[in-house]
Amino acid sequence: MNMTSDISAPATPLPATTVASRSNPVHARPAIELQDASVIFGKGDQAVTALTPTTLKMERGDFLALVGPSGCGKSTILRLASNLIQPSSGNVLLGGREAAAKELRIGMAFQNPTMLPWRSIEKNVMLPLKIVEPFKRTFQRDRKGAYRDRVHALLEQVGLKDFAGHFPWQLSGGMLQRANLCRALIHDPDLLLLDEPFGALDQFTREELWQVLQDLYLDRQPTVLLVTHDLREAGFLARRICVMSARPGRVISDRAVTMPQPRDISVIYSPDFVEMTQGLRELIAQIRK
């Protein structure tokens, strides 16, 4: 059954629609689409279901926040979307194609900031420019010039300007997460996958970075899939919030956040906002029982 859908899937999108789809979002091909995708690790007795068949669709330029209890499969969805793992059943389409086709430029921030310990922060953040086209082409020429300035500008935005030359072990957990975010953004990705990127930060830095992320989002309009445990974070940043049930998870609620963007940080104290997060909190409290 899966075999047939695998084969037929790439045939569906028409190449000619690429240009039109950007200007006409209603008919755009979705940026990510999970079609009954499930993930099972291991075999036989050892098998762990990380994700029961899940269907999730994201339009280009959308900002979706994924919330849910620990272990429900949120990171697994991100790993599917970034093509790090293949679904055990179902399909994962990126930009309307099989994930392996790599039509989209992906930026990902993992749950733990995986900085390469032998590279300075600056060189870590610059890494995507060395790997991803079209930046890769002129990497040798630009790494001491234009790319370096680009990295420094981004580091300055998150308050890490003075730490560009430091090594990862010389930074605190929160600082590493900020660098992690920079690395996910430096190559101007079409699709941004963020796994609890602000987890280890204090409230003030966190709110500051929400605004940084919002600005970057509104500026460049990538498709963003953000996993978070913080309902206020989800409400402040996202256009759409999906709630997942406990392990093995699936999406049980999918609602839009209609407040206009850009949002001011004070919005999180407005009655509408409080009401929305309260609703989500009750929903999650229910599914935990």
Binding site: N83, I106, T114, P117, W118, L127, V132, W169, R183, H187
Partner: protein, 257 residues
């Protein structure tokens, strides 16, 4: 005086004390210089015979370094090959372990048989003896690379070779340099050994000839030269290691102001 300086001066005193003790005991116990010459005699021999020893020092150094370089090239190639492929790792490991458990002295007669005595068997012995530790370290380093680090590159769509260059190999450098320190010492041993058995050049041969002519203090002078060369080679690669893989030994230097 800082802690390290203290330790340094103590170990210097220990070395000095060792030679003093040797000198004094030889005089007190009236040891014949045909059995154990005094350090002062050895030093004099070293000084007067140095012009004769010098070409042999260069010869031994040449054999060691040539064999070592070949060994590094072969070791790194095999290590990368079996470290990046799980299958190759499983298939090749038993054979490698088999090779490594052969005492390397045993290959000298074979090399002499094939290439005659001289420089070639010394180089080849130095080579085979150092390949294995390099292979083991490179392949373990690559095979144990944290998947998290590789994932960073995979999400960016990096190719296999890009992952190897940007994650696998840098991560393996500390292992590689640790193995180089071991390997250079082994190569040195291998080269000297082969010279001793089958060559008419090199420090190993000088010692052998001196021994059969009862030039005891020259034998010991050769030994001192070998010790100094061994230490110098080891120190050089230690220094290189600390320069290249400083990130692996994170500092805990707390500034006191």
């Amino acid at each position: 005086m800082t802690e390290t300086n203290k330790i340094r001066s103590m170990s210097f005193s220990l070395i000095l004390g060792f030679f003093l003790m040797w000198e004094v005991l030889c005089i007190m116990l009236n040891v014949s210089d045909l059995i154990l010459p005094r350090p002062s005699e050895i030093a004099v021999t070293l000084w007067t015979r140095f012009p004769v020893l010098w070409p042999h020092i260069l010869q031994t150094l040449y054999s060691t370094l040539t064999g070592f370089s070949l060994g590094v090239i072969i070791g790194v190639s095999i290590g990368v090959l079996i470290g990046t492929s799980r299958v190759a790792y499983g298939v090749a490991y038993p054979l490698l372990v088999g090779f490594s458990s052969i005492p390397k002295v045993a290959v000298v007669p074979i090399f002499v048989l094939w290439f005659g005595s001289g420089t070639t068997p010394a180089i080849l012995t130095a080579m085979v003896i150092c390949v294995f530790p390099i292979v083991v370290n490179i392949s373990t380093g690559l095979a144990t690379t944290e998947p998290d680090l590789e994932d960073v590159l995979k999400t960016l769509g990096a190719s296999k070779s890009e992952i190897l260059w940007n994650v696998g190999l840098p991560r393996t450098m500390p292992y590689f340099f640790a193995s180089l320190k071991v390997a250079i010492t082994l190569s040195f041993v291998g080269a000297v050994l082969s010279e001793t058995v089958a060559s008419n050049r090199g420090i190993g041969n000088v010692m052998m000839t001196a021994s059969s002519n009862f030039q005891v203090s020259l034998v010991f002078a050769g030994l001192i030269v070998l010790a100094l060369m061994g230490v110098a080679l080891y120190a050089f690669f230690s220094f290189l290691e600390s320069r290249v893989t400083g990130w692996a030994t994170r500092g805990n230097d707390i500034a006191v102001t």
